[in-house]
Each structure stands twice: as C-alpha cells, then as structure tokens.
Symmetry: C2
Subunit: 321 residues, 2 copies
C-alpha cells in the first residue's frame, strides 16, 4: 500500500488534503491510493444537501456541522460549485460564514469546481467522499450549488438527500418539478419566518401524498430558519431516522451498491472519451476532415459518423448500432 | 433529397416543425435531412442571449422580435431550457409574455429541454439553428436559461453573443467571472431603472478596458429596460454593428468554421459514448464486474480501467494512453 494510503487510513488530515490535490490533478498516484483504501470505506454517513440558489443550503450545512461537532463526531464538508459565470457574490459570503469551522481540526472543508465537467456529479466528488470516509470522518455533508444536473447527481453519492427550498421562490409545484421528488429523502422549507413558508410546506406534503414515491419512507417536510438555528435539531433527527430506516431495511447497502455500479459505468465512459480525445488529437487524417466540415463540404454529424466508420475505428463493437 | 428537406428549403413552416420533432426523437430521417440542407445554410444571422436567471433575457428576446418583425424580417426563437428542478415559475411567465408572437407566421418559437444532456449546448440546438437557417429565417435568437455550461455553450452557435445582467444581482465583478468576458460581444444591463444599473455598467466598462479581450471589437455596454422597450433599438443597432464588424473582418466565416469543427468533435464523442452504452448493455461479462464493484471487491475506477483493457476492448487506440 502506498504511503499516502497508509497515512490516510491512519486519519491524517494532511494526507487527506494531499490525496485530494492529487485527485484534482488527475495524478495516477491518486487512483492507486483510492484503490488501496476502497475496501476500508463504508463507515461514514453521507448527507447531500441540494436546492436552488438562495435556499440557505450553506447555512444549513454550517448549523448541522455545529450541532454534530457538539457530539464529538468529525465532519467533512464538500461544496460542489459549478463555478457558474453568474453565481453572484453568494459564495464568498458562504465562505465567510463557514470560517468558524476552519480552525476546528474535526471539520474538513473543501470546494470542488465543476466548470467544464459534463452533467451529473463529477467523479472527483465521489472520490473525495470515499477519501474522507477512509480517513475516518463520521459525517460527510455534500452541498451542491446551482441548478440542473449537478443537483440531481447528489443521489449518486448521498445516503440521505436533503432538498432545501426557499418559500420566496414562489410556486412549490414548479419548484419540485423534474426529478427532485424522486431523490428527496427530507424536505426543508428554509426561511420559515418568511411569507409562504407554511403554505409551501403544506403544498409539498400534499404532493407527496399524491406521489407516494416510496411506500416505506415518507419524506418529512420540515420548516427551518437556518440563520437562527431553528429547526436544525429536528432536521438532524430526521436524517438519523432516515439512516436508521435505510440500515434496518437493507436499503443502505442497496443504495451504495447502485452508486458504485453507476460510478463504474461513468468511469468507463469518461476514460473512453478521454482516450478518444487523445486519439483524435494525434490523428493526421483529422485535420483534413475538420477543414471539410468547416468549409461545409459535409455536415458535422454525417462527418462524425463517417469518421467513426473509417478504417481507424473498425472494431466491431464501435460500428455496432 | 428527401421530401422533408425539399419542403424545408422551400420555407414551409410545417416541414420545419416536423424536422425538429424528428431531431428530438433522434430519427435517422432527421440526420439525413440535415445532411441534405447543410449546404444551403449560412444566410441567417444568429444572436445568442444569455445571462443569469432574472436578467430579463426573455423580455429582451420578445422586444427584439417585435422590432425586427416591423422591418419584415422573419425571426426564429429557440429557448434552451435546462429544465432544472428549481427553475421556479419564471418560464411560464415567459411563455405568456411571448404569446403575442405565437400567431405571427413570421415568428417560429421552440423550446428545447436539455435535462439529462451533458455540459455545453446540446447538438439539437445547433441542428435547429441550421434547420431554421435552411428554411429561410432571417434572424435566429437563441436564449439560454439557467447557469453554468449551457450559457457558455452559446458561443458554439451564436454569431453575436449578448450577455444580459441584472443590476440587482449585486457585485458586477462576481457576475462576470469565469468565461463570460471571453464570449460576450454586447453587454446589456437590463432593468436600467433599478438602483445600481449605472454603477454596474461603469464597472463592466472599466473591466473591459483592463481586459481588452479583442483588440478590434470593444463590446459595448448598454442600459435597457426591456419591459418598456427602452434601449432595445440601441441594442439592435449594436448587434448590427457587430455583424458588420464580423463580416468585413472575415471573423464571421472564421467563427462559423470553428463552430462546425467543434460540433464535429462533439458528435464523434456523442456517437461513441452512445455505442459504448449499447455495447455495455449487451455485454454478458458486465454483470459480474458490476456485482464485484458493488460488493467492494474492486473500486469503480480501477474496475473501469480493467474493463477497458479486457479482451473485448483490445483495439490499439482504446488502450493507448
């Protein structure tokens, strides 16, 4: 086993930081260490917190961290940041709010920029969760910022998914469209002091009755005011209830197994795409094709099909539809 | 040439709708028609309008459409909707606002949902732009909603990129981080009546002086109040100035050639990933591997590398690093 893997398993925070840096660089040593520590994971519990911008996710993470630290458990925080050009100044504020935990050695905080990544949650987040787990972290909080695929991707890494909503964002039904109801284990209507919070909570509860996604687990709908800490204790209890439910029903093992399978398939695609890019970058015929496409002698899609069917790509499976 | 391609080139709106439906379904007839009409494109001008939620992009599109229709030119509108679970009720309002154009046969409107797509602008948007172009549309407006990759992807389809900003979103410098300055040809600070609009415009202008991205084209920074139409005439003039600049400098041809090259490379990756998924779905050995990954006998990434190096994937280029 590599030195870094050994130090990680011994719980050394510096080894954890180092491994994450290696992961970010795509260093082969990181893959080697991840392979070595993989069998030592599974003890940590991972909670994903997602929701629209302005729903107070970071404040919820901050308050949950505070609460859990009082029990002596260690906490790892991964903030997934799509680094949108338009994210505004909120992130800076979040960082400032979180700074009370920076000096606490029982809290490990790391942001991941996902700009330039394809949809879903990037593989590095999954590796970071596994690294934190291997290093002996008790609770891992993964916060996904922004909108779209990255949020829904939280299901690929979290044991419990908390969806935070903002009563000021308007129509609860619109807020809940497109996939969120399939992934939410706990709903939080944050900013409970604002107008519309109760109505939003009731609307969600009503929709849950109609949808009845899971017969065994009814996602609770909580009201919080994360800035003051109101409702956070209750949220933590519901997260523990959900953990208990998953553990006793066998759902936890099932969920984690599915996550690993999906990660494998995504990795196959990722590595293949990367090799394709290398291949393409070194292909002398490619330039001629590109110039033909640019000059409208052929359309891009047809040209792509022809290129893939050319002799260079003649393996049977590549040409199989 | 297929019947649909012929009818499209004759400018039949129903053929256009039909082709787009075929594109959405991934019907091979669509690819065939796109191939046939490709050489007949290039006459339309494409303006991309992007920016954060709430910056009034749809209102700007609506007002530009109104203005351009008064000159008799036809307009195609493509609203790219990442179908985020959290997009709120804004889209519905946008649709209602646009309805005055629905009865105008000189305006073609279509939304594209991009949920489930990987980063950047999905290929279907590029095909739709090309189909509108082939059908004789004069001006094509592509609006991208949401945050992240989809916005920056607008550069892969637009001749002129308009970035709309909202003075209420706060710090202009934060708003402009990460890639937007490289793609913006025209800046619009919308809601010019709100506090901070002038300051934001000045801050952007100041940053542009420092950055000086293109020595030949200085992106203008405009103040608009799209709801009342204020500043829209000026925006339209600046778009035409930019078109003139691109045309006389040779930049238009260069930009479009680059877009086509990029589209080709993306199509190669897309088709290959799709074939890989088919391959994987029909591989009898795969289940055993998946179960090993789920049971933590091997970690997902190492397993992916091993799978790709197995005899099934023995083509030289696949194994080349």
């Amino acid at each position: 086993m590599s030195e870094i893997a050994e130090r990680l398993l011994a719980g050394e925070q510096r080894a954890l930081s180092r491994l994450i840096t290696l992961l970010e660089r795509g260093d082969p040593a990181a893959a080697e260490a991840m392979k070595a520590v993989d069998g030592h994971t599974g003890r940590a519990y991972t909670v994903g917190i997602t929701g629209p911008p302005g729903s107070g996710k970071s404040t919820i993470v901050d308050q949950l961290t505070q609460l859990v630290r009082e029990t002596g458990s260690s906490v790892g925080i991964i903030a997934v940041d799509p680094t949108s050009p338009f994210s505004g100044g909120a992130l800076l504020g979040d960082r400032i709010r979180m700074q009370r935990h920076y000096l606490d050695s029982g809290v490990f905080i790391r942001s991941v920029a996902t700009r330039g990544q394809t949809g879903g949650l990037p593989r590095i987040v999954k590796s970071m969760v596994r690294a934190l787990d291997a290093a002996g972290t008790d609770l891992i909080l993964v916060e996904t910022v922004g909108v779209g695929q990255t949020e829904l991707g939280i299901i690929s890494v979290a044991d419990t998914v908390v969806v935070a909503l903002n009563p000021e964002s308007g129509d609860a039904i619109q807020t809940l469209k497109a996939g969120v109801m399939e992934i939410a284990d706990v709903y939080v209507v944050n900013k409970a002091d604002r107008e519309g919070a109760d109505q939003m909570a009731m609307a969600i509860t009503g929709m849950l009755h109609l949808a009845s996604v899971s017969p065994e687990w009814s996602p609770p709908v909580l009201l919080t005011a994360a800035l003051t800490g109101q409702g956070i204790q209750d949220l933590w209890m519901k997260i523990q209830d959900h953990r208990e439910f998953l553990t006793t029903s066998g759902g936890l093992e099932d969920r984690r197994g599915k996550q690993r399978k999906r990660e494998f398939l995504e990795a196959v695609e990722e590595v293949l795409a990367q090799r394709l890019r290398n291949k393409v970058a070194n292909d002398p015929d490619l330039n001629a094709t590109l110039e033909k496409v640019a000059a409208k002698e052929t359309d891009p899609y047809s040209a792509a099909l022809e290129y893939l069917e050319s002799s260079l790509f003649s393996s049977d499976w590549l040409n199989a539809q």
